[in-house]
Symmetry: C2
Subunit: 416 residues, 2 copies
């Protein structure tokens, strides 16, 4: 007997065959129809969302989580606007990356095509539902969405509106499938559907991501944690260094591209660290440093070994003093999570050395780590920021939801 998840996967696979054939025009019409439908069904969505919010409040859920869960007219309009923006983006599907003629006359090309069935596993933010659908749909994929149980009424309402929009333009409603049974067994089954789901993308906290990475037999795109560093080199402009550290740490706390750790060359520390401390203290940032950092500023409290590897996502930063760029690079490569790292320097060789030797998705010279973002990079959309090395690394735009196929045109060639 087919299980519930097997049924969803089968419907999604069938829908994905249709999706792959859609023209860009049809996809854009679909996105605009869904955007209109979300706006039109705003009242229904807010009513359903209120049920989730009430249940969460009754359970004593933290206010920060309720803030993520709660929708408003503005948030629904933002979802609709997000879909309209996706409609305006160039369709990556169908691009032929190259085509060459081989000596035997075979014309061999590589063409960008959809992945097929994309599974997204996420937590309590209902806006991911519309966003993930939009990105998958624009790239010709069918989406299986498994949101958190806390947001189930909201997600059902949003998916109902999406399906209504698809129906209006006569497209398959199975292009978006919500996993309505939010039990743990069902998500475990989903992670084992190798061959039925083409890729799983977890979007959420470190625990969720680790669970998917550890247990999935379906290929995973890991989006993730950022223990990001700024290294202030001996030759750095101290004003620029202080501005960049302030921005990277405080422009938005709690995001993966925020700076969590500062590494300073001992030749620069005496001048630059007090400036940085002054700026960070204005934002009430707790500064935890090694002994040499503490000796420079009384505001700095002791850091433990654990601090070097911690992504605080909070108003805390660690500071380490080093005696060379090699020591800085070794420290960063030991503790970082492969996300975003920046050097502030005036030295040409050190700028290149840092970019060459740091192992991370995005390596900056003289800029804030906060720019690691699909919109800031000019992709016009973002699926997430990949911290793995396979398939996609760094901010992922629409292309991360595609694969390629080789297309070969012959006229009777056989292999000798």
């Amino acid at each position: 007997m087919e299980s519930y998840m097997e049924m969803l996967a089968r419907l999604a696979k069938e829908a994905s065959r249709t999706a792959a054939k859609l023209r860009t025009d049809d996809k854009n019409r679909g996105l605009l129809a869904v955007a209109d439908e979300l706006a039109a069904q705003q009242e229904m969505i807010l009513e359903e969302n209120a049920k989730d919010v009430e249940a969460a409040q009754a359970k004593g859920t933290k206010q920060s989580l309720i803030d993520r869960l709660a929708l408003s007219e503005k948030r629904i309009e933002d979802m609709a606007e997000g879909l309209r923006q996706i409609a305006a983006l160039e369709d990556p599907i169908g691009e032929v990356l190259y085509m060459k003629t081989r000596p035997n006359g075979l014309r061999i090309g590589q063409k960008r095509v959809p992945l097929g069935v994309v599974g997204i596993i996420y937590e309590s933010r209902p806006n991911v539902t519309a966003d993930a659908f939009g990105l998958c749909f624009k790239t010709g994929n069918a989406a299986i969405l498994r949101g958190g149980s806390d947001a189930i009424h909201s997600n059902q309402a949003i998916v109902r509106a999406i399906k209504a929009g698809l129906r209006k333009v006569k497209l398959s409603q199975d292009l978006v499938l919500l996993v309505e049974d939010t039990s743990r067994d069902v998500v475990n089954e989903m992670m084992k559907m190798h061959g039925m789901i083409d890729v799983l993308i977890p979007r959420g906290g470190a625990g969720l991501i680790a669970n998917v990475v550890q247990n999935s037999t379906v290929p995973v795109i890991e989006t993730g944690t950022g223990n990001c560093h700024v290294y202030v080199d001996a030759s750095a402009d101290s004003g620029m260094a202080a501005d960049i550290v302030e921005n990277a740490k405080t422009q938005r706390m709690g995001v993966c591209n925020a700076c969590e750790s500062l590494v300073i060359h001992s030749d620069a520390a005496g001048e630059v660290l007090p400036k940085i401390v002054t700026k960070l203290k204005r934002h009430d940032v707790e500064i935890r440093g090694d002994e040499r950092a503490q000796a420079i500023s009384p505001e700095i409290v002791p850091a433990s070994e654990e601090d070097w590897g911690t992504e605080y996502l909070d108003a805390i930063i660690s500071v380490k003093i080093v005696d060379s760029i090699d020591e800085a690079i070794a420290h960063i490569n030991k503790y970082n999570t492969g996300h975003s790292e920046s050097i502030v320097t005036k030295d040409y060789d050190n700028a290149l050395k840092f970019q060459d030797e740091i192992d991370a998705a995005a390596v900056y010279v003289n800029a804030s780590t906060r720019f690691t973002d699909g919109f800031e990079f000019g992709f016009g959309a973002e699926i997430g920021i990949s911290t793995q090395k396979l398939h996609a690394r760094g901010p992922m735009g629409l292309k991360a939801l595609t694969t390629t196929k080789y297309i070969i045109f012959g006229n009777g060639q056989v292999r000798k």
Copy 2:
């Protein structure tokens, strides 16, 4: 306490930092030095290989497996020549795929870099040892090689020669690490080293690949099985169709890009199937068909449902008669393994339709499926043929062993 595998992974990670910094010149010198050393140490390698072959014979191992295991002067010279060929290939590392200047002045580029530590899990063919080292080394990666226990003496000897070659040109011997403990526990541990090994590539039979896919938490590139089809359309040239089917089935049996199943439009079957049967029977191919195929030729024996999904790797082919290209596409998409599929047709629309709608790594019009191969595609090397959709799909050249990093040049930019 660090385990044996953890030690290997740590040494490999350290070596990978060095490897990433090597210039192409140094890598090519290393490859040539290793090639010379393999040739120079031929006698030692053959002596060690003889131990494995004797042990295999004593165990009563099948002759076909002993043929894969046994080395000869010629096979060792082929290994050395393979490394020289890799030296001659263009180095993919360092290529900047694009670089753009953003409105805020940030110059953002995407650069090709090594993956880091590549783990290869393979079976009894010792030539994979030299080949996998060469491909990983040219792409600036450190390689952890886990060959089969049957080939352990051969692999130790080959790795000894590789390390001697690396030593001669003063390169780290940890760039290649052989897992000398071939117990199951150690390979299981290897598959769980997420974060320590960057990618695992299984090379071998379906059982090995399935085991790695099911159990690895390290990202896997799945190379694989090929249940490849040739579809003969209504309008096909019957001579061309018969030539292509003969080549795809018989030019080399037992390989993943060989044709295992034939699908024929009913309008063409009466003319083309007898021609195909005649050709295949010359190669003693057993032909298993549905009832309509059996009605056309008495040489055709009944096929069961299981035949449609079977990769024979042998002198057997299945035949199905369909009434439309849509039926052919649905049949192939149901039973194929996403490897290589071919249509023989004179019809323009059907050629494009087949290429658009078939879900496979390589989709051919009027050519044999046997061309799916890194060398035939002009890559100059082949790591394997990926049947997954993430990261690499189809024949994999050196680029499949690389990832990218974003490099960002600023002059003080902070995020607003």
